[in-house]
Structure formats: structure tokens, C-alpha cells
Symmetry: C2
């Protein structure tokens, strides 16, 4: 497997082996630490320690903690993949498609952790709020509005429905929501999303 | 104004002046500190310092930090007041009543802070999750289900809609949601809640 030139930024020809693995190792450690400690609680030094690399390497790849955060908080499913997937459903089943897609992403613990880390950071840190707001506004809401032709406000109401539902199901774990099946939740919530996204 | 016997717990006849004010001062400081630092970040000592009382007094009134948290995280509007208010609307306007009530409570910064503190604590601390889950399950969802005769799952879907919307509006402050008027949000979201609560 050649890693040459892949995954490095700026300085140097990047011919040393393994920069991609190192970068991914740092991001994985950062996701875990942001998930556990929030934005303020996870220091760049602690991220380096968890990734078993020199802090200078983290600086080299990402500049500063914000840089690590922006990269690490990327949705585990890229919106540019997720949205076309949802839009590939017939228009009258787009609400159902959104519920099923959210449940599948959030149901996977490895993909849930970075999303919870984002939310947690946004709720404890003003800079993280700004970062996350910029991210969701451009990468999610903007694209979703273009794709569905729904008004931005309606897109945000749909997003709010799913965010709140996911918090109650996976963070607070309230019953019966935490144990409800995918089909039960589709029956319950899909008509709501359908109305917001395609009415 | 007589304070005798009011607001004290256990030990002593509570005849010393001002226990209610002291108790409220501690709770107000605790709310601010939980809002700012989350459950783990706010120490009992720091709460006492912010309330300008001796830490022993905090112990006396509330036992431990959990005790302070349970009291401090109480909804600023008691569910036993809030729910009858919502239920006083005609049944075909119950969705609208819920949206307006939530917006009025969350729109008031003094009432929003303790609710954000709860959410934040729940997202960073396992014990806070348990406490909050017990609270919302018994004090909110149970009562709402009884009052509306809606299924618990539908009540939770309605709550999820409002929680997510409030996070996007007041925490992330995404536009146009952050600047939308009460009437715009009623038009957008009330039909959703109406369907969950009374269909």
C-alpha cells in the first residue's frame, strides 16, 4: 500500500510512510476525547497522548485544537453521500427515508460518538457553537434545502425533530422510545418529516 | 413576612430568620453554575462560594451535590402548572398551545438557563442522565400522557420535536429558525404536535 503524497498538508513532500494512518489515529483519538470531555476538556496534548504521537505532529497536521475539532467532528456519514441517498427515495417516501437513515447512523455506536461529541461541545463552548453552526448551516441545511426544495425553516424543523428524538432515545434513553423499533418510529415520525420536506 | 418553619428540612425547629432566602440563594447560584459548568464542573464548594454561604449550609439544606442538582434542575415552570395550562386550550388547538408555551418558557433567559443546565449535565454525566430521565419520565411524560390520553411514544416524539427545535433556536442559533416569530413557528410545528397529542 503506497501512502506517498496522500493525506498530508503543506510542508514537505510527504514521502515518509504512514501519514494517513497517523492522521486517522489522531482523529480517532480526538473523536473519543471530544466525546468524553467536550471541547474545552480535551486538550491537544491529551489528544496527542491518546493517539500515541508527539504533540508537534498534531500541530503539523491540523494547526490547532480547532483544526482537529473541525476535522474530527465531520459527520461519520458525509452529507454529500447521505443526502443523495435520502433523495433517491420516491418523493412521497422522503420522510420515511430520513427517519430510517438517521436511525441507522445513530444506531451505530461508532458513528453516534462523534455526533454526540459535537452536540456536547456546542452546549459547553461558544467557539464550538460557531463552528458547528457554520458546519450544519452550509453542509447540511443548505444542501438539504436545495435538494428537497423545502424552505430552510422547514428543513430546520425536520432536523429539530430528529435531533430531539435522538437525544431522548440515545442520550436520555427514555422508554418506550429507547426500545422502539425502526418501523414503529417510521410510522410515528415519517409523516412529520414528509410534511416538512415535501408538502 | 414570616419565614418560620418554611423551606427548612429536618434538623432544628428552623426558627432562625431567612432559611427560605438562603435556600433560594443557593439554588439560584447552583442553577447558574450547572448552566455554566455542567454537573461535573460545578462543585458544591463553588456553589457555596457563588451563593456567599458556608459549604456546611449547602450540606445542611441539600445533603450533597446530587441533592442540590435535583432541586435546582426543577423546571422553572412546574409541570403540574404547565400541563393544565396547555390542556386548558380546546383539544383542536393543543399543538398550538404546546408550541406557544415552550416558546414563552424558552424565550425567557432566566427560565432557559436551568433547562440548558439539565441538558448539558445529562450529556456529560451518567448520574445526571439517570436523574433527568427519572424526572422527565415521571413529572413530564407520565402526566402528559394521562392528560392528553396520547401514547407515551407519541408524547416523546412531541417532546423530541420541541427539544430539538429549542436546541437549534437557542443553543446553535441557526437562521432563519433563531429569528422566526412565534406565529411562524406555530404555523410550522403546531400541526406536528397536534397529530402526536390528539389524533
Amino acid at each position: 500500500m503506497s501512502e506517498a503524497g496522500a493525506g498530508t498538508r503543506g510542508r514537505g513532500p510527504g514521502r515518509r510512510p504512514g501519514p494517513t494512518e497517523t492522521r486517522e489515529k489522531i482523529l480517532a483519538a480526538a473523536r473519543d476525547l471530544f466525546a468524553e470531555k467536550g471541547y474545552d476538556g480535551a486538550s491537544l496534548r491529551a489528544i496527542a497522548r491518546a493517539a500515541q504521537v508527539d504533540p508537534a505532529l498534531v500541530h503539523h497536521f491540523f494547526g490547532n485544537k480547532e483544526g482537529v475539532f473541525v476535522e474530527a467532528m465531520r459527520f461519520p456519514v458525509d452529507p454529500s453521500v447521505l443526502l443523495p441517498h435520502i433523495m433517491s427515495f420516491p418523493r412521497d417516501r422522503i420522510g420515511e427515508a430520513m427517519v430510517r437513515t438517521f436511525l441507522q447512523v445513530w444506531g451505530d455506536e461508532d458513528r453516534r460518538a462523534p455526533m454526540l461529541a459535537m452536540l456536547r461541545s456546542a452546549m459547553t463552548n461558544e467557539r464550538a457553537v460557531v463552528l458547528l453552526r457554520e458546519f450544519v448551516t452550509s453542509a447540511l441545511f443548505g444542501r438539504a434545502s436545495q435538494a428537497t426544495e423545502a424552505a430552510p425553516l422547514a428543513i430546520q424543523a425536520a432536523a429539530g425533530q430528529m435531533i430531539g428524538l435522538m437525544i431522548l432515545r440515545y442520550v436520555l434513553c427514555v422508554e418506550p422510545l429507547a426500545s422502539a423499533s425502526e418501523d414503529e418510529l417510521v410510522e410515528l415520525v415519517a409523516p412529520t418529516l414528509q410534511r416538512y420536506l415535501a408538502s
